[in-house]
Assembly symmetry: D2
Homo-oligomer: 292 residues x 4
């Protein structure tokens, strides 16, 4: 199958490679001349035959919107756009509304897998109309991991449902990582425990907590047994925030994932203003020494 | 009334003074010679007439236990010990069991008020048998704030119930302070808000959140508008931990007070091992830069 | 001073009354004929002399927007609108942008005090340009509690800052209430504690946790000692959600207020889907009985 | 190798079977006559040759202590007891101190694997002196999953470290399960998502959140797509509580695991007393209707 791929960074570039290995023909465009196959979106569209399939893999927000708007001008009725970046599900609804009047299909697709995806395949969650999803299925099949389709791919629901599922996936990821991390900290703090890495590694098989994240933590502890020289400073990429916002929006209690999110915020503070306030209060009522 | 007071530090010393102002006779003992009225527990006991009343106000744990054990040797049937320090309620049961066979009464009394208590009076929560509580009532009445007895004093229940109530009081205090502190941080972070202290001060009357803690926060912000030079570093004195432990013991959900407690723990960490683990994990799967 | 008041419900009606007691002349409009002084916004505007002052006190969202839009048509340059309802601070910015081109001033004002405000006065937090705030000051002075202006009123900052401060006030309120509530539950669960209401009442004076909310809890426990016949079901009015959303937006850790918010969500669930999932998982790996 | 096994319930019985499959000789004792090989601890000890190895697999607390005390009388210098039940690490220290004077070795071993362990092997975490751990290694090797020893077994540290590691393992498990559960609830609540089970299944390969627990959740959703007829009621077996207690003891922030624990507590309440208090408070200040 022939497909256009816009955005050839860390993710898009590897996906082009994985598709090519599977025998698909990929025409790639990127702002970076050294990465691209064609020099413009116009050339990319011209290189495809109708009905065309174009996969968008650029930063979410303005770059994605601008790309889809341009595609709305260049593509024709019957063509299909797959938004594989990190758009918020609400943006998907807007982008679909922009293309629908022109008869151009829209499928949103959350992609998981990071730097391991090229070899292991990508977990895919998509949303859209069944006839549109069907068109792109050969591409989905090439990108997802080997094995039964349903173990690496889902048509989650209407437009936006793919990114919604990916958003929730990432929210869960925040919670999972923090659960392991709290366990790591407690084990590390306890004097009778002499082999913290060994504990995690011993959970690799046969235990309830075995997982890919656990394997990665063992790997990280192999490289740095006490996580030496690793800063606590941790950024967040948006999906965690959106997940908690949606929980608030849907009145879903979400203590675990929100705690993991807040811990990331705190990791980036030199001095917590809230704790300064607590310390100041204690100084006022208790004569407790305020550490200056 | 005549009473022996053991422990004349910041709290005990002020309580002696408040009792004297109320016309009670206080014989005080402390390890610090410059503070005490008598040179030993023996002298203190000898200076009182049976039935004697002795108030213990020394650090909890070993010092309190040792003092009560000594009093068990020195006092006689019909005498009464009031433990006014910060003993855990489980210790009260043990100390009472130590004195009861000798016919010596035991009342535990949680005392709130800090450095403000001398002038404003202390909030008192006690536990023990009614006949014992009754004996000490003139002392309780002198220590508690002016006004109706029930607004500054409670006989909360059996031995231990006084310190239990004080423990919960302090747990609540953790939650209250942190609620204000989170609000402070959010207001401070927002560009359109120009007068953060003014906001807190405007809540002093007529709003739902008005409280003594709010007044203290306004005072702290008056002294340092941005809480300049106040470290986030915040210790904890035990009751907060015990409150959450008891919540776990009694299967009571306690998300708010535990969050406030954990935030204090975090305030004392240079680098969070848990967040190092999260950062390390992200480095493993995402190729996210780990900040060294 | 003469003022128009739109919306004469529980809040607006009492505020009209408090203003009249203070000697101000209030022309009120409401959809409910039995409450209003004039039959239309047109009549209300006609009853005022330029420069006019109109206070909007209707439900937030569409009703407020629609009212302000109509006022934009009816009022003239130099007039002033005070939005005293529960608008989100982002709406304030939009409403101000709507009136500004016509030379009509806009001040947002968060109002706290509930049913007690008529007699005790209302806590007021406003946002807007200094010259606009100045115009309405006699009204603010009449509505706020007796005492120094700064203890019941603040000009918090730019347009939106008043509702922002009120939003944070309500978020703090969520945290405060839940801290007391957790303490209540723990005290109630403990067998040695015999007088739970007495404990709270004893904190009324001289303790760190004394507050108006504490007084209200004592009042509630006076009426129903075990809170008999009170459902756990608790709604939320929006400001708590906005506070946590803003915390996420500003990357401010907010574990306490969010926990209080999530507990409200949970209080409205018959069966927690999340806990069903946990129970199902335990059934899968542990052979733990799943309670059907 | 020949080993005595005390306690042949769901866990112990399967472990006996797995050991026999591996060619070990197991002499089992249980209070249930239908399960056991010998009729008393005396017979069990008599059936083994010195140096004897006895594995204790009975309920923690009194049953374990009583069993170890009896073994202290029956065993001889050079024999070894492995405590494979769910003892708290503090109990291990006490039990070791009980046996050590007699020259009887003590190893604590946390065992994970539940009903799947018989076929898949058990994750093992042990604590004790190296020479004692070495003696039992053939048994550990038979019980743990196939593959490298360190991926299913760890000598975590001193006496107690095995159960400490198992305790932390279970604490992590609470957090992991709740993270998935929150994601499940949010996906289930969203109208645009049509295939919730499909989403979880699509994460089975190639995503960051893939794990054995995820597979189990997919299995549970296969059996009951909406988790129909599964109660939210979830018990807890102790290790989760101990983990949070230890976090408090060690001043380790633990917001995620504690939130998961508290959610279990809440799942067992018909009516939350804390939320009744919040509802009562709202009724007091806001005139908000209290739902009776």
């Amino acid at each position: 199958m022939k497909i256009g791929m816009i955005g050839l960074g860390k993710m898009g570039g590897n996906m082009r490679e994985r598709l090519r290995r599977a025998g698909h023909e990929v025409v790639g465009f990127d702002l970076d001349e050294s990465l691209r196959d064609v020099a413009s979106l116009e050339e990319l569209v011209a290189a495809l035959e109708p009905p065309r399939l174009v996969w968008v893999m650029v930063p979410h927000g303005k770059p994605t919107r601008s790309t889809v708007e341009q595609l709305g001008e260049l593509l024709s009725e019957g063509d299909l756009v797959v938004e594989g970046g990190n758009s918020k599900f609400t943006e998907d609804v807007e982008l679909d509304a922009l293309l629908a009047p022109k008869g151009i299909g829209y499928v949103d697709c959350g992609v998981s897998g990071g730097i391991w995806g090229l070899d292991n395949g990508y977990g895919l969650m998509c949303g859209g109309r069944p006839e549109h999803v069907e068109i792109a299925m050969p591409i989905f099949d090439a990108l997802r991991p080997e094995g039964p389709r349903e173990e690496g791919f889902v048509h989650a629901g209407d437009v936006g449902a793919g990114h919604y599922a990916k958003m929730v996936h990432n929210g869960i990821e925040y919670g999972l990582m923090h659960a392991y991390a709290e366990g790591y900290e407690l084990l590390s703090a306890k004097d009778i425990v002499k082999d913290v890495k060994g504990c995690f590694q011993a959970w690799s098989r046969g235990t309830v907590v075995r997982s890919w994240l656990l394997d990665l933590l063992v790997k990280a502890l192999d490289e740095r047994p006490g996580l030496e020289d690793i800063s606590e400073y941790t950024t967040d990429s948006g999906e965690g925030r959106w997940t908690v916002e949606e929980a608030i929006n849907m009145a879903v209690p979400m203590p675990v994932i929100s705690a993991a999110l807040f811990a990331r915020f705190a990791s980036r503070q030199e001095n917590s203003p809230a704790m300064q306030a607590v310390a100041a209060l204690r100084g006022q009522f208790g004569g407790h020494a305020v550490k200056l």
